[in-house]
């Protein structure tokens, strides 16, 4: 009597297809991932029912929190050009190295007199550094309005586009700061801008 031999099957599975899918997904997530810009101050954005997404590029972002205003603009070339123009205006010579460093900076909030010292810091030290915010007052020519004006000018010169202005404010921020910002924008004849909000979780009920 011959014994019934049970064919021993290999336990290994073909992983090729699984590997393909895994790497496809990985590529997708890597490409869609956007480096999160760390806010210099904690900002808790208020919720609203607006569903219009924030434009991806060509935006000037003013972050407001703890009574300070931070400035950020999209595009490395615009940042660099803005810095050069600001340097001319304030008679500060920024070295090419400083310009490159500045171009990599998504948001900042230091007076222009301290900017060189701030750029000289290591990135880790920069995070620790308590940024005082960009100076602003009620006069026509303060630093913040100069930054905004020069950034708009740089965008028109480089891309021939009108820069969009977005305000990202902390919900607990008292209105006067926002009011000041709005007044400052209106002085430059900017009457249209965006408030950045998050989507309200509760479903929308019209009536």
């Amino acid at each position: 009597m011959p014994r019934v031999k049970v064919a021993r099957k290999s336990t290994s599975i073909d992983m090729t297809a699984m590997c393909d899918v895994a790497f496809l997904l990985l590529t997708f997530f890597i490409l869609t991932a956007k480096p999160r810009t760390e806010d210099p101050v904690p900002v808790d954005i208020p919720a609203s029912s607006v569903e219009q997404p924030i434009p991806d590029d060509n935006t000037l972002l003013l972050t407001v929190g703890q009574n300070k205003v931070f400035f950020g603009v999209d595009g490395n070339d615009i940042r660099k050009q803005t810095l050069i123009q600001m340097g001319e205006k304030y008679k500060i010579n920024f070295t090419p190295e400083e310009q490159t460093k500045f171009a990599a900076l998504p948001t900042f909030g230091v007076p222009i007199k301290q900017l060189q010292g701030f750029l000289a810091l290591e990135p880790t030290q920069r995070k620790e550094f308590k940024q005082p915010g960009i100076p602003r007052d009620t006069t026509n020519n303060n630093e913040l309005s100069d930054w905004i004006r020069e950034a708009r000018r740089a965008d028109v010169a480089l891309h021939n586009k009108a820069l969009r202005i977005a305000i990202k404010g902390d919900s607990k921020e008292e209105y006067p700061v926002i009011g000041q910002l709005i007044a400052l924008l209106q002085k430059q004849k900017i009457n249209k801008f965006n408030f950045i909000t998050s989507l309200r979780a509760a479903p929308k009920t019209t009536k």
Binding site: A22, L25, S48, I54, E174, F195, I196, T197, L199, T206
Partner: protein, 177 residues
């Protein structure tokens, strides 16, 4: 998991020396593990809910602009944003109609806006104009909430306007400042 080539047994003696045929299959398990680990990482770090942008249009401050239309007081409603998440509202001119205090949200501001919008539509046949006047004690969230209510209730014309001292007085009187 790794496949061992067991098919070509030794055993044969005296034959030609054959080069061992190595299996072309590579063990992909570790690679898949790594790939899924990275996928999980990227999935958790990407923010799926992108922030939204609310359009705000301010009235032109230019004094040279003469072709501005005056809005009848009867169909203008004023919201005074006070402290502690309170909002005061009145229809018409300040001081002539007593203001009422309410909160933000579904039962507060939204109800008031819908009721008054309908009332004004019936009596004047025109849409209501809302003036949002944030006081110094209100916060940014209040402004966004008020603007959001405009969108939800479908108010067609509204504007953010500076508050006047008389209206500040009203807020102070009612303890909302």
């Amino acid at each position: 998991m790794a496949e061992l080539d067991t098919s070509s047994g030794g055993g044969k003696k005296g034959g030609k020396v054959r080069s061992k045929k190595a299996s072309t299959r590579v063990d992909l398990t570790a690679m898949v593990d790594l790939a899924f680990l990275l996928i999980t990482f990227f999935m958790f770090t990407t923010t799926l809910s992108k922030p939204k942008a609310m359009d705000v249009t301010m009235p032109d401050k230019d004094d040279q602009n003469k072709d501005q239309l005056a809005v009848a007081a009867s169909r203008s409603m004023t919201l005074l944003l006070g402290a502690n998440d309170k909002v005061e509202w009145f229809v018409g001119e300040p001081g002539k109609t007593p203001p009422e205090t309410t909160g933000y949200g579904k039962d507060g501001l939204r109800k008031v806006l819908i009721e008054n919008g309908e009332k004004i539509q019936q009596t004047t046949g025109k849409y209501m104009t809302v003036l949002i006047k944030p006081s110094d004690k209100s916060n940014y969230k209040n402004v966004v909430d008020a603007l959001d209510e405009m969108k939800i209730t479908g108010v067609q014309s509204f504007a953010i306007v500076d508050i006047t001292p008389a209206e500040l007085g009203l807020l102070k009187r009612d303890g909302n400042y």
